[in-house]
């Protein structure tokens, strides 16, 4: 393993979220600095790139914190100001950047939403997907107003991660990372098929799909205890990434926006940040006390040197790093 140490300047912000489950940044983060952090204490919004946070559920007048487990922005956020939040038993949606919220209940018993994914062509197709801990995948055709479980062929309903093809309008492909591996849908989430990801190497906690997926068919899967896996044929075959030897769970995976031309990958474990600039062949690893308990990450400006990376931890801290 070719390891070297990467130094990242970090800036620590404490939130009152207790633990942070998910982070998301606006597609126009560079201009508006808009991002969200979801956690046990609710949902927080920042308009200054994560330096200060405010309660997103203020308009709801809640008497107790509403645990929020997933958050996602509309790809057309600059126009529709829409974002989604996964809460126990339902999905909230806001059409005014978090000022007011509408709730859509999922089926009973209340599912634990682990991940949300929005179609890259949301403005046209209005498609959304929600992964749940014990209930598989829910699908919404109508911009989050109604949801239905669509688990044909999904033999493992413990969903941890979702990844949608950037060319979704054409290939209708998405992947779920589950307890026993990775499943693929090639018809917009209406049916699921097993991939050859080895069952014994699950659970798959994180997935990252190449921005150039239509051409290179590349996606990565981060597991809990069996390292990083990659497929270069749209999930048909998988192999362990040769340069990865860290045994920690891979909680988040981010590919650079110009992958594979500049093959940068950021893998976040609960104890370290691992950065590769050669498609996973070698890794630069940063470990520090500050990075303990990192659960999620978002890199709104990509992974080029100097770009900002936002990390969330299991004790409510937000770390602003510079790659």
């Amino acid at each position: 393993m070719n390891l070297s140490t990467v130094t990242m300047a970090t800036h620590l912000i404490m939130t009152d979220l207790q633990s942070i489950h998910a982070l998301a940044a606006s597609p126009t983060f560079a201009q508006d600095g808009f991002c969200c952090a979801a956690g046990a204490g609710g949902l927080r919004i920042s308009c200054d790139g994560g330096r200060s946070w405010r309660d997103a559920y203020a308009s709801l007048g809640l008497t107790s914190p509403l645990t929020t487990t997933a958050v996602a922005f509309s790809p057309d956020f600059v126009h529709d100001r829409t974002l989604f939040a996964g809460v126990p038993g339902g999905v909230l949606r806001s059409h005014d950047a978090g000022a007011a919220w509408h709730v859509a209940a999922l089926s009973s018993p209340p599912p634990f939403v682990t991940t949300l994914a929005v179609s890259p062509h949301y403005a046209e197709d209005g498609l959304l997907f929600a992964g749940a801990m014990e209930d598989g995948v829910f699908r919404s055709w109508d911009r989050g107003a109604g949801w239905a479980a669509w688990n044909f062929g999904l033999l493992d309903l413990a969903v941890y991660a979702l990844a949608v093809s950037p060319a979704f309008a054409r290939d209708e492909t998405l992947y779920v990372g589950v307890e026993s591996g990775v499943f693929r849908s090639s018809n917009g989430g209406r049916a699921w098929r097993e991939t050859t990801f080895p069952m014994e190497c699950g659970p798959v906690l994180s997935l990252a799909i190449s921005p150039n997926f239509a051409a290179d068919g590349t996606l990565f899967a981060g597991t809990e205890a069996n390292g990083l896996w990659m497929s270069v044929d749209r999930g048909a075959t998988w192999r362990a990434a040769s340069g990865w030897e860290t045994p920690s769970p891979i909680n988040a995976l981010i590919l650079g926006p110009t992958f594979p031309r500049q093959p940068s990958i950021l893998a976040v474990t609960d104890a370290a940040l691992c950065l590769s600039h050669d498609g996973g062949a070698s890794w630069q690893v940063q470990r520090s006390a500050e990075l303990t308990g990192v659960t999620c990450a978002v890199a709104p400006s990509g992974l080029r040197p100097g770009a900002q990376v936002i990390l969330g931890t299991n004790d409510g801290r937000v770390l602003l790093c510079t790659a």
């Binding site: 009973s108 018993p109 033999l155």
Partner: protein, 550 residues
């Protein structure tokens, strides 16, 4: 001579002539139905005042032919009918192709045998040639995916645009092993619905267990499940279940048992109190211990827990909390019960489904194959229902039968792929046969390959003739264009097979080729016809038999 053999046996040279005449009558009745522009066969119904039955399916026509008046001719007709019926049951389509292949191969084979060739040797070489054809068809097979491609495959079978598009969408969703129920609908149109989770056709033991009388069903969330095929006669036998459930904190319980006495049921109803414990009891699905054991095995993998088996001498006295299965949701009504989100170990479930799929792919027993298909489809979680409507009962019945045949063909295409349709895939086998012919030495061997070579052109010739085209010209154009082309009878021109626009299910093409040509090879070895006057088997379908892996 016994009473059932009062008519004299038939020997050569009459055997071939009589057999050929009978086979020709059946094949000629079916021949007009081949292709996307079939002709209709009107079948008179002597005991029915509704007028003739209008048919465009070779398999259905074959089923309707019960007996020919001349007993010598009847044997050949019934031989072909049995072959076609069996093919229809196995694949749902391909009977007209098999019929014309049979006729072409058999008639030319008869000429060869009459010219002095050995029928036994000829049969052996024909069988070898059929293997070459199957190998070539396998080579041309490609997987099929997507609603449009599946709808196109469906259309080649049913020629019904609305039905094809709906089946394309359904199979794109449920997949090749998914569960599809085709039912008669109340309206005039086709409708489909998708059902989440898994359900079985067994209902509640008592109406008093219904909690929601608006929907006439009960639902339990986060339910514990006891799987068994036990006969419960005494209420005391159930006490360990209830005590263990209470001790384990299970407040919602689904009990599955084969029999429940009134007194045992009373105990469950007495304890079925929403604020204390909700209990549903349903009958074990399946007929007989073998089917019930299959259900219990599948259900235990799906939901976890241990099944209690009568055959193993199990009793509830030994029940422990870990013997309960669990599910996110269960429901039951008076006819069915279902499970959504079984909490079994997903890896065990995936391995179990994989082993059932392997068994399904390997088995040749059609009954077992059907059962395995059903078990796999349930475990995949979710099912589709297609409701077939129509203007009257007759139309609904006919369209439902058509939908069932088409669904079987599309399922086969999903499981085994597609190959160029319209007779193009069979024609593309000719170069391989030509190579075999060039290398052949024995007269029977050369004759066999020539027979097969010629027979492979017959489906295309028939399709073209049925569409009102000139077969010889189209065949010549195709020979010139090469094997990557097929004839589109609607457009009246050749198209590249790579577009996939004229694909047929590969399993249907292979099975039709195998059935038609192998049956012809076998029929050539028949020397004596013995007629039985009592023929109950003619009115019955053939036994499902074995499905050869092609």
């Amino acid at each position: 001579m016994t009473s059932s053999l009062r008519l004299p046996p038939v020997f050569q040279p009459i055997t071939y002539r009589a057999f050929q005449a009978g086979a020709d009558r059946v094949v000629n009745a079916i021949r007009p139905t081949l292709g996307p522009l079939p002709r209709i066969v009107a079948l008179q119904r002597p005991l029915d005042s509704r007028g003739p039955e209008l048919l465009d399916s070779g398999g259905v026509i074959a089923k309707r032919i019960i007996q020919l008046p001349d007993y010598r001719v009847d044997v050949g007709a019934m031989f072909v009918r049995d072959m076609l019926w069996r093919l229809q049951e196995q694949e749902g389509d391909g009977t007209a192709t098999a019929a014309v292949l049979f006729q072409a191969a058999f008639n030319e084979g008869v000429r060869m045998v009459n010219a002095g060739l050995n029928a036994r040797l000829l049969q052996g070489y024909l069988e070898e040639g059929v293997e070459v054809i199957i190998g070539e068809l396998r080579r041309q097979t490609t997987p099929v995916a997507g609603p449009a491609a599946l709808a196109q495959v469906a259309y080649t079978v049913c020629h019904d645009q609305e039905l094809s598009e709906l089946l394309g969408e359904i199979f794109d969703t449920i997949g090749g092993y998914g569960r599809l129920e085709i039912r008669e609908g109340a309206g005039r149109t086709l409708q489909r619905e998708y059902v989440e989770g898994i359900y079985w056709e067994r209902g509640l033991f008592s109406r008093q267990m219904i909690a929601d009388w608006t929907r006439v069903r009960s639902e339990l969330e986060e339910a514990a499940i006891v799987f068994s095929d036990l006969h419960i006669h005494q209420p005391q036998e159930l006490l360990p279940v209830l005590i263990t459930a209470v001790q384990a904190g299970c407040r919602r319980l689904l009990l599955i048992a084969d029999e429940l006495s009134d007194s045992a049921l009373s105990l469950l109803l007495a304890n079925n109190k929403p604020d204390h414990m909700q209990i549903l009891a349903v009958k074990t699905p399946g007929y007989g211990q073998e089917q019930q054991a299959d259900f219990l095995k599948d259900a235990a993998v799906l939901c976890g827990g241990r099944p209690f088996l009568r055959s193993a001498g199990d009793r509830f006295t030994s029940i422990r909390p870990e013997d309960f299965g669990h599910a996110r949701r269960v429901w039951a009504d008076l006819r069915n019960f279902g499970v959504i989100g079984g909490r079994g170990e997903p890896r065990a479930l995936r391995s179990h489904v994989a082993s059932l799929r392997k068994l399904h792919a390997e088995t040749t027993d059609l009954v077992l194959r059907g059962k395995l298909q059903e078990r796999i489809s349930r475990l995949l979680g979710g099912s589709a229902t297609l409701r077939v409507g129509g203007v009257n009962v007759r139309e609904i019945e006919e369209r439902k039968a058509l939908a069932e045949r088409t669904a079987a063909a599309v399922r086969g295409a999903l499981q085994e792929g597609v190959a160029p349709g319209g007779g193009a895939a069979l024609l593309a086998c000719r170069p391989a046969l030509q190579r075999c012919l060039d290398a052949a030495g024995e007269p029977e061997q050369r004759a066999a390959y020539r027979i097969l070579y010629n027979a492979l052109g017959e489906p295309l010739r028939t399709i073209a003739a049925n569409a009102g085209r000139e077969p010889a010209r189209i065949l010549a154009e195709l020979q010139e264009a090469g094997p990557q082309h097929a004839f589109d009878v609607f457009a009246g021109r050749l198209v590249a097979t790579s577009t996939g626009a004229l694909n047929d299910p590969a399993n249907v093409i292979k099975a039709a080729a195998y059935a038609g040509l192998s049956s012809a090879a076998l029929a050539l070895t028949i020397d004596v016809l013995v007629h039985r006057t009592e023929q109950p088997s003619h009115a019955l379908p053939p036994s499902p038999g074995k499905r050869k892996q092609l």
